[in-house]
């Protein structure tokens, strides 16, 4: 079974179809819409706003912990942090951030980016995490910008 089954939900809830601005290809529209549908009133977007801004906070904390773990060369912690942020970014449909977090999770397990082939060289894994961490921060900055604009703050 895939972990990324996507489809247009045909039975949108009674709030009606949500019209979304273009969020670019960093955000999976279907997943994010699912969150938006949980808002009581479209204008306020109180629930989704709290989730999104809660995520910003979580992401920044996690990146900091990742930086620290990288300094320590602590692959196991990096992997579990990657997994942690993968979960919440996936929930929001932040595809690129999620993919990068998954890579960090795999590198931290001393595997290749797909998680299929072992990579026993810890230094190499750390180097890859370092590169991915730079990339994921950029990806995060991009979605943060888009989402902040969306929420008008």
């Amino acid at each position: 079974m895939p972990d990324s089954t996507r489809r247009e939900a045909e039975d949108r809830s009674e709030e009606g179809s949500v019209s979304l601005p273009d969020l670019g290809d960093s955000i999976d529209a279907v997943t994010f819409e699912q969150i938006l549908e949980m808002d009581d009133e479209e204008d306020e977007r109180e629930f989704s706003r709290s989730i999104v801004f809660g995520f910003f906070e979580q992401a920044e904390q996690t990146f900091k912990k990742m930086d620290d773990a990288l300094k320590e060369g602590d692959l196991a912690t990096l992997s579990s942090l990657g997994h942690f942020l993968k979960g919440s970014s996936a929930t929001l449909g932040l595809t690129k951030v999620k993919d990068s977090c998954e890579k960090i999770q795999h590198y931290g397990q001393k595997k290749d980016e797909e998680g299929t082939i072992d990579e026993p060289d810890e230094a190499k894994c750390l180097e890859r995490i370092k590169e991915t961490l730079v990339a994921v921060k950029e990806e995060y900055a991009e979605v943060e910008k888009v989402l902040k604009k969306f929420y008008g703050s």
């Binding site: 079974m1 895939p2 972990d3 990324s4 089954t5 996507r6 489809r7 247009e8 939900a9 045909e10 039975d11 809830s13 997943t31 699912q34 969150i35 549908e37 949980m38 629930f47 709290s50 989730i51 809660g54 995520f55 979580q58 579990s80 997994h83 942690f84 993968k86 979960g87 919440s88 996936a90 929930t91 929001l92 449909g93 998954e102 797909e114 299929t116 082939i117």
Partner: protein
């Protein structure tokens, strides 16, 4: 003075009483007096000296002769005494001849000293020489003593020495010309004593540089630290021989992969050293590791390729099928519904094909593993499989199950794989049976202290198997229906996978025609381990089965009807996901949702109120105790609330292990509401 005729070995000198070496005048009296007591020194000497001797006077007449001499030359006393020695030699053609004899005698007299002929071959293997001892008184020659000296023993030992020399020379040439092997000798202490050209070529030392040095110079530091050279010699002394492979070092410091044989060398039972033969296997080693690396590389590529391909194909296919399921939930015209059904059928066949190919490639590469420590209830398993297939049976066909009462309620095995085989066989029967019946029968055929052997038999009244196809039935890519129209679809891998699986489960698989009518009987056996603890499994294994979905028209409405009053426990550590899940559950009408921040908390809550929750949603990766660990503990506490795993690790193997360890179902992350709805419908109704 020694005969060329063979010496009679039985000749007994003690019985040769010819009272020898006596003067001519004494012959008569002494010949009658063989006793030893009254014998003169001369007589005793003549009779018993082991050296064949003749005493000549100055005119070379024989005046005394020893018994041993007479025996040696087959002469009698009378023939000798008084005769001129040259006449005797000439007349009896003794060896050496008169010329040589004269030379010895004359030389001895001239030198006034002992003189001997060179060694001569006497009879057979015997060798001897003749020695002349001149006896002077002043300048006057009184006597000449001739003695035959038997040098056979010395000769033989010298021959042996010569032979050895020859042999050593030969081998030395052989050894020296060997260029590919270092062959050399060590003394008992391990110091190098010889050095062949192969050794020089291989190790780079010249003989003068290395001879006398200890052989440990060829070893690396690690080996020296572990005292490998010393240990090798010890083992060699004990066992006579030692063989080793490892890195050895040349004079220039470069290393090579060596095969070394050290043999203990002894001579006459005394240990004199060791022989050492070293071969350079670097190239072979390199070739070997290249082959291994190439193989590993290709295996990796293959597995990566398979993983990628399957992912690439399955993901869109699942998307398509899920969308199709949703489409089928809408109101469709009968034509649209029929087309949709066709798409669903083809899609699920395609999915099966992809799964089969993946399984087959895993089975054929031997990386397929089977678990034997999951508790499984065969009766429940079979009942649930039959139930799930029931809906696909053609009208007019009955599908029935009969289970022997002696079947164990639970045993250790691999429920997933067992299910796969049973399902495959029943599905085949359903596919090929247009009317009549399909009977599934399971029985216990064998039992010992640790295991059950269970036989499952599927009898149908379908088209049966043509005789010609029976032999190749379980070969991969074999299909019964090769007609152009191909009514029956598939890869032809199913039965071959079943065969491998049955064998992996310690059993066998087979076919025979339906004995009563047209149709087939497929059976397989599997060995399952016995278990003593009969706790959680019975209730659970039946619930493992995610039944085939027959989607209701509106899952959302159904769930909303079910939700009020249901109590759900959500175990999730990431608060973002927590909040989203909570909201989603709230939207579906669940008012009673408890939160656990980790697995331990979930176990705690579940245990405190064992009958309270109707369902647990369990994240897999959580701190303190992960979801799988929590599920295990909840099951161990005897609580059989449905647990749905939530995970982004949606690999088939992962899911299988979650299910095996107590989970009932799973939804992939990020959680899609539609998938969640289906799961709720499976477990809350």
């Amino acid at each position: 003075m020694f005969a060329s005729t063979p010496l009679d070995s039985t000749f007994d000198i003690q019985n040769f009483t010819a009272h020898n070496m006596m003067t001519s005048g004494e012959v008569a009296s002494n010949s009658t007096n063989p006793g030893s007591g009254s014998r003169s020194i001369d007589e005793a000497f003549a009779a018993f000296t082991p050296i064949p001797s003749v005493l000549l006077d100055a005119a070379f007449r024989i005046i005394q002769v020893s018994a041993s001499f007479l025996a040696l030359n087959h002469l009698t006393l009378d023939e000798c005494l008084g005769s001129n020695v040259y006449d005797l030699v000439r007349s009896r053609t003794l060896v050496p001849g008169p010329t040589a004899l004269r030379l010895v005698v004359d030389s001895a007299i001239a030198a006034r000293n002992v003189y001997a002929t060179s060694e001569q071959q006497a009879t057979g293997r015997c060798h001897a020489n003749l020695r002349a001892v001149p006896i002077f008184e002043g300048n006057e020659l009184l006597y000449v003593l001739l003695e035959v000296q038997d040098t056979t023993a010395e000769h033989e030992s010298r021959c042996a020495v010569n032979d050895q020399l020859d042999r050593n020379d030969t081998y030395r040439v052989l050894v020296d010309t060997v260029k590919d092997y270092a062959i050399f000798m060590l003394d008992t202490q391990g110091n190098v004593r010889t050095w062949n050209s192969g050794a020089q070529l291989l190790k780079g030392y010249k003989p003068e540089e290395i001879i006398g040095k200890h052989f440990s110079v060829f070893y690396g530091e690690d080996d020296i630290i572990f005292e490998k050279p010393r240990k090798e010699l010890e083992i060699c002394l004990r066992d006579g021989k030692v063989e080793d492979e490892g890195w050895r070092y040349k004079k220039d410091g470069s290393k090579f992969w060596a095969n070394v044989t050290i043999t203990c060398v002894t001579r006459n039972g005394v240990h004199i050293g060791f022989s050492k033969v070293t071969r350079d296997l670097t190239e072979r080693k390199a070739a070997e590791s290249q082959v291994v690396a190439a193989y590993e590389e290709s295996a990796k590529l293959k597995s990566a390729f398979l993983a990628n391909t399957s992912h690439e194909i399955r993901t869109p296919l699942h998307g398509m099928l899920s969308a199709l399921t949703l489409l089928m939930d809408t109101s469709l015209t009968p034509e649209q519904r029929e087309l949709g059904t066709m798409m669903e059928e083809s899609g699920s066949i395609l999915l099966q094909v992809i799964n089969d190919i993946l399984d087959y490639s895993k089975l054929s590469s031997g990386i397929f593993s089977i678990s034997s420590d999951t508790a499984v209830s065969i009766p429940n398993l079979i009942t649930s499989i039959v139930r799930s297939i029931q809906t696909t049976v053609k009208p007019g066909v009955s599908l029935a199950t009969s289970l022997d009462l002696n079947l164990p309620t639970t045993a250790f095995g691999d429920p997933l794989r067992y299910r796969q085989v049973v399902q495959n066989l029943i599905t085949n029967a359903v596919k090929f049976t247009e009317s009549g019946s399909i009977d599934v029968h399971a029985s216990l055929v064998e039992e010992d202290e640790t295991s059950f052997t269970i036989r499952t038999e599927i009898t149908d009244t379908g088209i049966g198997i043509e005789d010609i196809a029976i032999g190749s039935l379980f070969n991969p890519f074999t299909q019964f229906d090769t007609s152009a129209t191909k009514r029956y679809k598939g890869t032809g891998l199913g039965l071959s996978i079943c065969k491998s699986l049955a064998e992996l489960m310690g059993g066998a698989i087979g076919f025979h025609p339906n004995p009563k009518e047209q149709g087939s009987v497929f059976w397989f056996t599997a060995k399952l381990g016995k278990i003593n603890t009969l706790n959680r499994v019975d209730r659970l294994s039946a619930k493992f089965e995610a039944s085939v979905l027959s989607p209701a028209p509106d899952s959302l409405e159904l769930v909303r009807e079910l939700a009020p009053g249901k109590r759900v426990l959500l175990a999730e550590d990431n608060f973002i996901n927590q909040k989203v899940m909570l909201m989603m559950l709230k939207g579906l009408g669940f008012a009673n949702v408890d939160i656990a921040m980790n697995g331990a908390e979930a176990v705690d809550r579940a245990k405190r109120k064992p009958l309270f929750y109707d369902l647990i949603l369990m994240d897999i990766s959580m701190p303190v105790l992960d979801g799988v660990g929590a599920a295990i503990q909840i099951r161990e506490a005897g609580i059989d609330v449905p647990i749905i795993a939530m995970t982004a690790n949606a690999l088939k193997e992962d899911v299988a292990s979650y299910l095996a360890q107590g989970m009932n179902d799973y939804v992939p992350k990020p959680v899609d509401r539609q998938i969640l709805l289906k799961a709720f419908l499976r477990w809350l109704r």
